[in-house]
Symmetry: D2
Subunit: 148 residues, 4 copies
């Protein structure tokens, strides 16, 4: 099974239009990424606060299909994929009671923080990619079987 992050929409996520402010949807996706790292036993403080290796986002995109309201129970499905020796991307699908409400991608590059030069994906992140990729593939296979 893919990694799923459950998240209730909070009042601070919303704007004067009464729905989630568009950029906050990407923050919610990033929370799912953090939760999936944590689920693998990765120490978030060490990973995100003054690390020697980091994975800054070089590209993000998001499609908004339906508005999200305060109190909505979101399920964020996360599917990461290795792109190259120093790059990976994550696809996020946000669902409310089985209806897709948003879809997003974040693309990350591995860098040495001091020099800010690219470097190969670390063992830690390779393991996370491996774990979540397999799980996502499993989900895809199950989905295909259900369709047949």
């Amino acid at each position: 099974m893919s990694f799923i992050y459950n998240r209730t929409v909070r009042f601070s996520d919303t704007d004067a239009a009464g729905v989630v402010y568009f950029a906050n949807v990407l923050s919610i996706c990033h929370e799912a990424y953090e939760a999936s790292l944590e689920a693998l036993g990765i120490n978030l403080k060490a990973f995100f606060t003054n690390p020697s290796i980091a994975f800054p986002i070089v590209h993000a995109n998001v499609d908004f299909l339906r508005p999200m309201y305060c109190g909505d129970e979101l399920r964020v499905r996360l599917i990461p994929q290795k792109l190259s020796v120093d790059k990976f991307e994550i696809t996020y699908e946000i669902v409310i009671t089985d209806v897709l409400v948003a879809k997003a991608i974040t693309r990350h590059v591995c860098i040495d923080v001091n020099s800010r030069s690219k470097q190969e994906l670390s063992g830690e992140i390779m393991q996370w990619l491996e774990t979540n990729r397999k799980e996502a593939e499993g989900a895809e296979r199950r989905k295909s079987r259900e369709v047949m």
Copy 2:
């Protein structure tokens, strides 16, 4: 027992000092308020989006005792109290593994949204105050007994 809201510190909560940005601590407290309303079966969308009666915050204060880092597991204890016929306040205690890291208060007044005039606390919020007050008192009594 008092209502407790568990919340992992997210990367978006932090600032360039490497810790939770001060104003975000109040947002985390407000999330605890939302979660406690939800726990009583109150519909958050109806409560916060275009309601006829609202409970805007007229005062907030917060003391920061220790820094909070990305990945920290916060426990937010919420203790509401009725102040007058149209006002209540909530005390929040944020704890990381039994150490108090921040303490905050939000004070709310009940208003008719269209006229923006004060009005008596609604039955819904009175029930929420009653439920959480009892629970908080129970916790106080238990604490006193432990001390004795």
Copy 3:
């Protein structure tokens, strides 16, 4: 000339990596959109708070070329374009002392807020598109001449 929005990076924009949190770059772009509406005399409160016609974002994407730090003076250039009878998009280029640090797009659809059904772009937004398109084209022409 294209519309330019000047914006200093604030501490609250940053995260524990010491740079602007990725999703906040899109918020800064949205501020530029708001400033350009305001520059045309559009009342922002009426436009964004309980309007009958709204322009929700259906797609956004952003490329991050360089990190942005607290105190950095950003210049956000805004180039809107009509896409169809009910849709437009805005391209944003964020520059620090002539170096492009990020590029983003937001795509908006015009809706009737009550029915949430699509409708033709309003006269107000058509005038804004017209004004800013001409200005952007002027900038493009000048750029071409400089190149030749």
Copy 4:
């Protein structure tokens, strides 16, 4: 004259109640603090990103007198005051066309970042305190004269 920070309320500042989200008022105050440091020639990147000396907030409070809407033009008046050898506080008054809409305080302590132990206020911040205190006192005197 006191330092004044002019700030338009942005869509991202608002919530589903249609007004500025309470905790964001404190962020706007912090922006005024940053702008006043900048006005004195202090480098914000050096001051806020990986400094050896920092001024974390140990207490904040805010009173909300009137709602603030998207597009509102805020004037934030900043009055800092030294409290002790290692502590200062800032009072903020937020005004819309001469009407006070919110009042806030942030209290800061000077620390050595590595040891996180308190230390005397730096020369830089003492100069900032001196400059802004005098200006605020001047404003107070003028106000008194007007009243008499």
